[in-house]
């Protein structure tokens, strides 16, 4: 006699904290709770997963007893349950089909378009989408235009001032204005251009000191002394283009007792080997970075490097990313217009990994969004993953 147990059909589901990726010939499931993943190229498994992400199935499909017993499926389900990434529930245990609220990126194609529709509809407070502004300064900077523009921005933005402040006519006036703002202000300049702020300007300033190679030791020492006489937070950014630079940077860190620093790789046009070895990602790098549901969501929706940020050049031109076209100018455009333009036509805030070869890669949404390196080097796949 066939026992009832052997005839059971099941509701099959994937847990909502699992990221599902399906390409033509394989699937990858990633558990965002512990970083464990499952890869499979079994046709039946791929078909089952394809079914589960159909919108009408709402995260649950019927698995007949016959399907359940097929080896490929059965092995897969065993692994899935073992890693707490999905389950099967006997259909007789309830009166009808359940649902599973999967993250929508597991179901639909274009999260970016959806986000745009939901977040930038007219009536939304568009200024909420601004969090940081970088002001590039030199002798041509016009304070009379710049200050009213800064006044039109929402409070509490992070403000970066990039360049040699002393070149700006009336830079003291600019500093006095910035000093009154509650925002945090970061002065970014080479060590040759460090100036003393305190005691006149005290409120929420910090320094990012850029160090180029070869290093002018005299200037570095001099600026270090100047900064140590003040109590502002300091970060050093070593602009490295070779392994030698990296080593030297580490020595400098020790020699000067630098607490906070970062190494920023610089592409010179002939150091691609340095990038391949030190910047390009391997499959292991990609899968060992712990990814949350939010991270997958963000990678599909926006460019986290550029989003919320704008840059103002000394001539007043405004960019979302300085490698793309200007969006307008502080003398002729309001900040609202700039933001709308970037969302509608721009290429920076919403630049994601949606082009070849990444668009067909199973790690498409694991990799961080394209950074400036991709633009400068001129290719999207700065990785060792073979397609």
């Amino acid at each position: 006699m066939i026992s009832k147990k052997n005839l059971t059909n099941y509701w099959f589901t994937i847990e909502p904290y699992v990221y599902i990726c399906i390409t033509d010939n394989c699937i990858l499931l990633y558990n965002t709770l512990d970083g464990v993943f499952i890869e499979s190229d079994k046709i039946k498994v791929i078909e089952l997963l394809r079914e589960i992400v159909q919108e009408e199935n709402c995260g649950v499909v019927l698995l007949t007893n016959e399907q359940f017993k097929q080896k490929e499926i059965n092995d897969f389900i065993r692994e899935l349950r073992g890693k707490y990434m999905g389950d099967v529930i006997d259909v007789d245990l309830s009166k009808g089909k359940p649902v599973q609220l999967l993250p929508f990126f597991n179901l639909s194609g274009d999260i970016r378009a959806l986000c745009k529709k939901h977040n930038f509809a007219s009536g939304k407070k568009i200024l909420e989408f601004l969090s940081e502004i970088s002001i590039y300064v030199d002798h041509s900077t016009n304070i009379t235009n710049l200050i009213p523009f800064l006044q039109s921005l929402p409070g509490n933005l992070t403000i970066n001032v990039v360049g040699n402040l002393e070149n700006v006519v009336d830079y003291v006036e600019l500093l006095s204005f910035l000093d009154q703002l509650p925002s945090s202000k970061n002065l970014i300049c080479p060590c040759t251009n460090v100036i003393s702020l305190q005691p006149t300007f005290e409120n929420n300033f910090s320094y990012s000191v850029l160090v180029h190679f070869p290093v002018d030791m005299l200037q570095l020492g001099h600026s270090r002394q100047l900064l140590l006489n003040q109590t502002l937070p300091i970060e050093y950014v070593f602009e490295v283009s070779s392994l030698d630079d990296c080593q030297q940077a580490k020595q400098l860190v020790e020699q000067f007792g630098i607490e906070k620093y970062q190494l920023k790789p610089i592409y010179t046009g002939d150091n691609i080997d340095f990038f391949e070895e030190n910047v390009f990602l391997t499959k292991e790098d990609i899968l060992s970075t712990s990814m949350s549901i939010e991270d997958f969501f963000a990678n599909q929706a926006m460019n986290i490097y550029d989003f919320w940020k704008v840059n103002v050049m000394p001539n007043g031109d405004i960019y979302a990313n300085v490698n793309h076209l200007a969006l307008g100018n502080i003398c002729t455009h309001s900040i609202h217009e700039i933001i709308y333009k970037e969302v509608e036509e721009g290429k920076s805030w919403l630049r994601i990994r949606n082009q070849a070869p990444c668009s067909t890669c199973i790690y498409q949404w694991f990799c961080p969004p394209p950074s400036d390196y991709e633009i400068i080097i001129g290719r999207l796949d700065l990785c060792h993953v073979k397609q």
Partner: protein, 480 residues
Amino acid sequence: MIQTLIHTSEHDNSYMYNPQFRLSMLIHPEFKKAYEKSTNVNPYYLKKYTYLKNHGFFSKQKPINFGTIDESIVKNNITQTPQIVFETTDFCNLDCSYCSFGDFYEGFDVRNQKNINIDHAITLLKYIFECKHKSKKNKLYISFHGGEPLFNGNFIKQIVDIVNQLKSEKEMEIVYNMTTNATLLHKYIHFLVENKFQLLISLDGNESNHSYRFFRGNKENSFRKVIENIDMVQRDYPEYFAEYVNFNAVLHNRNSVKDIYEFIYSRYHKIPRIAELAPNDVVPDKEVLYQRMYHNKRRSEAEYLIEESNQLPHEELLLYTELANLLKYYSINYYISSITDLFPGEKKYVPSNTCLPFGKKVMLTRNNKLTLCEKVSCYKSSIGDVDENIKIDIPEITRQYNFYYEHVKEKCQHCYVNRFCGICLFLLKNNILDKLDMEEFFCEEFHDSDAFQNKLYRIISFLEKYPKDYSSVIENVIII
């Protein structure tokens, strides 16, 4: 204390909901047993329970970070006000039994047949236009409210003239709208059509359904006049009617959701908005009468839904709206409509869903007061005065709001719907805001775990019936 909940559905399926991760999860009945610490549990589910426990599923939830507002938020809102409402006049030729100016409600200024002051209205308009930046993307709604606004049609015409001058400077799009009882439409229809006024016509259904809306003088039902005018608009201006005319009905003991739909949909092919009688500010000795007239929308809708021939569009169902809110605010997909939540750093919320001043609109009353909106009585929500100048005491408004937040946040902290509850504090019954410093805040919509479980039961059962709604809500329902 807010914690992970287990709930079921009409199909007898089991689910778990974690408020902190905003994660709903289908669970095996054995998992439920493991959670409930029953005996004889399948060991796999005991292990799964421990696994999820180790990943924070059953830990103490982090309390929501309720913040306050500062003056810059109010200032920013003023420059971005999307809508100006004019209380055009307090006069109305109808004397509807449940009108906010009638003897049913208190707190609204006494009706004394007064029109709004045009000079002050212009001062306000100029002020708001001045604050706006130039952009074709900017849209400003200008609304006329009453009494019956068409009793002061001259005012409306003058405002439209002025706005047409002001708007070209700023390249803005202007949308006019008006709520009207339709009895005077014949006098102004040409002007309204010409300026593309969006009309919201008050109509409670068929003649007997509409019988609380009678003329002030002879006490006759206004239905015939109203229908005559609506028919005229539909006949003579069919394109305008199709695009710009909508209906609003009040649900009471002389009509039902069915009556309203069947009459308005079959006659005009329009889906009416249906509102319950406003529960706030009812005069205490009218409470019995109020209870007699009150008709619960959920119940009335459910009764109609049982009929197979019902014409209710699926997207208009209350449960559909509840599902939309759950998916937008309480599901793992909440980022789609709130990408600022992905912004690094902790997100701050303010309690309840009370509009901030100028956040959605500002209303100028006939008594020269600036108020939050037409639904809230002006003594509660006055946010400024207008004469030759605009007087807005931003520090005081900010202080007042923060006072409210300070006093309600304790309660909201323990409420399961505290990320989005749709509650306007000004519209709560019994003038709660007036007593905040003396009494504990009481909110009739407070959701403890039982109430939230019931809500989840209701919504997930609905979704089990209509699984396709999941993607259609996320893709199409935009919450502004």
